[in-house]
Symmetry: D2
């Protein structure tokens, strides 16, 4: 069986200095996600990489071996050079690589360049979130009930200045009176993108079995499609009229 | 292996009196589609039904055993009682039954009630159509090249007064100067709907291997999703606050 | 100045027997809306009609003189004949008449046939709703702050089985833990449709100045577009190639 | 009357060296557009700027005085620094500035960063294009017939790797057998974006009265909305629960 090759890129700084993050995710959020994904899925393997690794954790060789790229970043968005973010965008659009942006990655350069947004929203204290399943027939919602509860998650609030999603799968209610579109699907080029709100470094959302299921579902959904012709990252010139190998007659 | 249970509902009148239709589809368009689907797919079985069968070809028992309903109708849309079209709509929305509307079914009652349209368009003589693959990463486009050619198909022309599709997968060029959005996906309730333009009774489009592949892909795509809770065709009353079986803490 | 001609169709039964509804809306919800619209807008006139009027309150003459039809219905959806609902749909699609569905009209036949839905949702007790402005640049959101509060409104809860809206303008937070997409725009044919959640007969939401502003904004937004050619409710046959009155050369 | 302040940014190199472009647009495409817009509209004024002007033609002062920015670029996309393209994106998203991308600007940095795309498509020789009006009720289609003909326009062909548009207003048929989604609307933040295909430097499409009308309509459509609260280009922290100035009770 060919496995889906996931690369989890993590900012990986909070988990080295914030005591709560260190307690919840001692080896990093990326390692925690790798653990629950690989322990429950034979068909997925996860490679870890981080901002402070070589070339900001993004090499061509790594991308060449990535079906789905998961991104977690919070306070360091500006450290990533534009060129790398654009390279990731083009891998998604022309290469079909999936891209999953978790939590604070709403304001990361790759997410912003891929879907087209400045990523702005409002935010506040950790609190109770009820996650509503808006599109229960969506592949990413498979096995997810009508709703589930996350006892503590960082508040993210509307208006969230992202493009209207191609599919709105989850939406969150917060105890203080706020709401947020929490699970969003986008199509860009031949790639698929999923944004998912939970995952603050001082919350245990990644322990939640529904959050885990959603991430696993999203990996499968975002893995590259089988495309019936070669898509290249350029604008080819057409020198003839369209042709076909056969006719119906 | 559990098979996808397809029911093909056919108006089935042209193929009994129009000489060209009789030649191309001697046992009906529905039988022709059943043949190519079942001969190439072990996981799909097709049941045939027609307007002139008992209860307009639509019984509860039949619907109870249908995962995906394919519809082909042309000149008899008004003969189908509203109640049956609404019943089909509700099976799609609350039951997750897939619905594939072929060709002239753009103006059928089930398609109109499900997606919300009067189905209006313009039309003209049979002619050369070049079908363009607008969303090559879509499951329905799997295995389909950049474009393919149908030598003779009835002209359908924009403006096509359907809702903006959730996904525009195919779009057609016609030799006389017209264009048409030919392959459209909609989500309604927990059901999936695909409209596909080719398939006039005096054309051989169903012989085209790409048309066949698209129909097979669409059957798989439209088959019912696994939904994580029971969806009913009503408006349930909520008497408590949302609850959850477990917490992240 | 030519006025926008609004017709408000009201079920108009609760306000004749429910003491709370009688107190809040002594002449009917429709008359209450007419009052605040006409008293603040010189360019809009509102005609009232009701289910128990002649021909269910829907005559051709009335529709001929309607730019925007507002619909409020709750418990009587089935009394309206299908033909009238389909006639309304066709007026919207081919005639460009605007359609505004208020509150319980989510399950009315006209709304269901126009946008394509069974209208299902969950519901519960009257409670505090915070209405969030999801698309502050939308014409219907003009003058509306980031959010506003409705002290008592009937709970409507997701999943709401409507088509993914063309524009999601408002979304509601409810104190019991529920959320709801509350302000939804749809394009159908050459008509525009707005669904708006507030407006239960035992709540005073129509007294809320922001609710009033939204309804007025929606009337202006939904009024018929100037279309550059004649749209008819049929499928015209094309007998020639496309022509043009002039060339760029 | 307050005028809509349009700034037309032009690459402005072809019109200085290509004989055909020099003949058709002796003072530049931007000046040509300014002429027809200002001569027919009292409520619009157009400022011209170009790549070879100070700071690539983009200064803060200029942007401060721009309601709608029109962009025409072809072979120099890479010369514009990322920072300027991102500044433009943020003016659109948080400031509500309209953005109209003409022709080859599909691959410009501002368009790519704003909507989220690499802008890829296929292209070919100048030829006959028939432009179809897909959404006749759209404000940008006001006064535009069912279709119109452009005798010579550069071929742009699908698949066009842009996000599925929020509104597909125009779509083109080309004589060689190709099609292209030619008029696309996007909402990003509180800004509105329109992409329009015609406008090659060696074609006279800007002489076409319907093209002119579409550009004028698009300027009006894309001009900034009146937003009911202050939108800033950041992620504000929420320290209280939502409040309201008044209640319905």
């Amino acid at each position: 069986m060919e496995k889906i090759r996931v690369t989890f890129w993590n900012e990986f700084r909070h988990e080295k200095k914030n005591p709560v993050a260190m307690e919840y995710y001692p080896n990093g959020i990326h390692a925690f996600v790798k653990d629950f994904v690989e322990s429950s899925c034979d068909d997925i393997e996860v490679t870890l990489t981080a901002l402070d690794d070589e070339n900001y954790g993004i090499t061509d060789e790594l991308l060449d071996n990535t079906d789905v790229l998961i991104w977690w970043a919070h306070t360091t968005h500006k450290e990533l050079p534009d060129e790398l973010a654009i390279k990731i965008r083009d891998r998604v659009m022309a290469g079909g690589m999936g891209f999953i942006a978790l939590h604070s990655s709403h304001r990361s350069k790759p997410f912003g360049f891929i879907v087209g947004t400045n990523g702005n929203l409002s935010w506040g204290r950790n609190q109770r979130e009820i996650m509503w399943n808006m599109m229960p027939s969506h592949p990413i919602a498979e096995g997810i009930p009508n709703h589930f509860i996350i006892e503590k998650e960082e508040l993210y609030a509307e208006p969230f200045y992202v493009p209207q999603p191609d599919e709105l799968v989850f939406s969150g209610w917060y105890e203080d009176g706020y709401i947020f579109r929490s699970g969003l699907c986008y199509y860009r080029g031949i790639g698929k993108i999923f944004y998912f709100q939970p995952g603050h470094e001082t919350c245990k959302s990644f322990y939640n079995p529904y959050v885990q299921r959603i991430i696993i579902n999203a990996i499968r959904w975002a893995s590259p499609a089988k495309v019936g012709f070669k898509v290249t990252n350029d604008c080819p010139r057409l020198r003839t009229a369209p042709k076909d190998e056969f006719d119906a007659e």
